[in-house]
């Protein structure tokens, strides 16, 4: 049976891992490659590297980090932040990334999704969406790390991206991000029911039951968290045991 995935997210700033609290206060927490190795040992199913500074600073994404990580960590690696062109895709993939997350660049030029899917296969094209609830009970899409509101409706945008060639969605609730109050189950479920590609839920995890909720009621295929894992608030093995005991299919190693 296909397992639900648990994904630690390494938010990177200047090549170092930081944690995000509502995208603002940043605390340094280590070397990304060492952190990734640790997560491999802890039983992470996949690792996301997000260059949180790239999309508004114009930094070059971290080819070297991915290249080094893929020499020592034999798990699916997803890279995001500052990816703008299919050449960025090619370079990241050749460095050892398996999937590439696009956010602002895909909003500005949706053909990037199609071009990348045609060239490298849709399985490696991840649409990252930062969504925030509005007064109408829907969700607006924000870009540049949540700094700029767009005219896009999050669910409509996800549906369109699937048609364009996206193979997966990394969906962050800006309302919940950093709050530890739980994932936005309504948002995740609305997205999961609208498309036929996997949804990675992100933003709001604070305790183990939140993972259970989003992987069942929220219909997510995978759940992502950052600081919760980084600071050992939740141990990945304990979390997998907790989920397995409650009937959620998770990957047990060995």
């Amino acid at each position: 049976m296909l397992s639900k995935r648990l994904i630690p997210c390494l938010d990177l700033k200047d090549g170092r891992v930081v944690k995000g609290v509502n995208f603002i206060h940043l605390v340094d927490a280590g070397d990304p490659v060492e952190t990734a190795k640790l997560y491999n040992a802890f039983g992470a199913d996949e690792i996301v590297f997000l260059d949180i500074t790239a999309s508004y600073r114009g930094n070059t994404p971290m080819w070297e980090i991915i290249s080094r990580a893929s020499e020592q960590v034999f798990l699916p690696l997803t890279v995001g932040g500052g990816i703008r062109t299919t050449e960025d895709f090619r370079r990241m993939l050749s460095c050892g990334a398996d999937k590439i997350a696009v956010n602002s660049a895909a909003i500005k030029d949706p053909t990037l999704i199609t071009d990348a899917a045609m060239k490298f296969g849709r399985q490696c094209v991840v649409l990252a969406v930062d969504a925030k609830r509005n007064d109408e009970g829907r969700w607006d899409v924000y870009l540049n790390g949540g700094r700029v509101k767009t005219e896009l409706d999050a669910i409509d945008w996800i549906v369109k991206a699937e048609q364009l060639g996206a193979g997966e969605v990394l969906l962050t609730s800006m309302d919940r991000d950093g709050t530890k109050e739980g994932y936005d189950l309504e948002l995740t479920r609305a997205a999961a029911e609208a498309v036929n590609i996997p949804i990675i839920a992100s933003g709001g995890a604070g305790k183990m039951s939140h993972f259970y909720d989003v992987l069942t009621e929220g219909k997510a295929d995978a759940a992502l968290a950052a600081s919760l894992f980084h600071f050992g608030i939740i141990n990945m093995r304990d979390l997998k045991n907790y989920l397995a005991e409650r009937g959620v299919a998770v990957r047990m190693e060995g």
Binding site: E71, L75, L93, S94, G96, G121, P198, E253
Partner: protein, 195 residues
């Protein structure tokens, strides 16, 4: 030395990095003289079946791989496994290498591609030495091998039971990515290197 067959598609470096991590050596090449120096061949692959086979045919690598069958162990990974079959239904019917009887057909249920970790059961091959029955590997694919039990060396459930690992003599194919399947995947790679 392991020869990783370079036909211009897919993430070949990850396979090479896994071999190197295990203390082996691997060369990524399309040069038959280079491949002749290798004791094992890996046919990796991500991308479209038709485009990949077209390149393999045009470069003579298809004939080359066929000519080496029985001389050394060959492992196809993901799309590389599908190349080993007679044919694929992807984008119309296209001929494969025909090294293992069967056809690559599309999933008709569930989210497609299947993406994530899934169990491999009924393992029957030295490729799975030291790997727990039912151990999980990482999959990303829309088509699967429709073959007979005779050539099935591992099975997986995704809305149906299908052959996720196939073999015939010294020719092996795995639908999952051992180079992305953590310690279990590395064990399978290690087993292949020791065949």
């Amino acid at each position: 030395m392991i020869g990783i067959i370079d036909y211009g598609m897919g993430n070949l470096r990850s396979v090479q990095k896994a071999v190197e991590f295990l203390g082996g050596k691997a060369v990524i090449t399309a040069d038959q003289a280079e491949l002749n120096k290798c004791g094992r061949l890996i046919l990796p692959g991500v991308g479209s079946f038709a485009a990949g086979m077209e390149i393999l045919e045009r470069t003579g690598l298809a004939d080359y791989v066929k000519s080496r069958v029985g001389e050394l162990p060959i492992l196809g990974i993901c799309l590389g496994m599908q190349f080993l079959l007679d044919e694929s239904e992807e984008e119309g019917l296209h001929k494969g290498l025909g090294l293992i009887p069967g056809r690559a057909v599309r999933f008709t249920e569930g989210k497609v591609p299947q993406m994530g970790w899934n169990n491999v059961v009924e393992q029957k091959s030295p490729l799975f030495q030291g790997i727990r029955e039912g151990a999980q590997f990482y999959f990303v694919h829309s088509y699967y091998a429709d073959t007979t039990d005779e050539y099935t060396i591992g099975k997986t459930d995704y809305y149906r039971t299908y052959a996720s690992a196939i073999g015939r003599g010294d020719v092996y194919g795995v639908q999952f990515h051992p180079e992305k399947s953590g310690d279990v995947g590395l064990q399978l790679m290690r087993n292949f290197m020791r065949l």
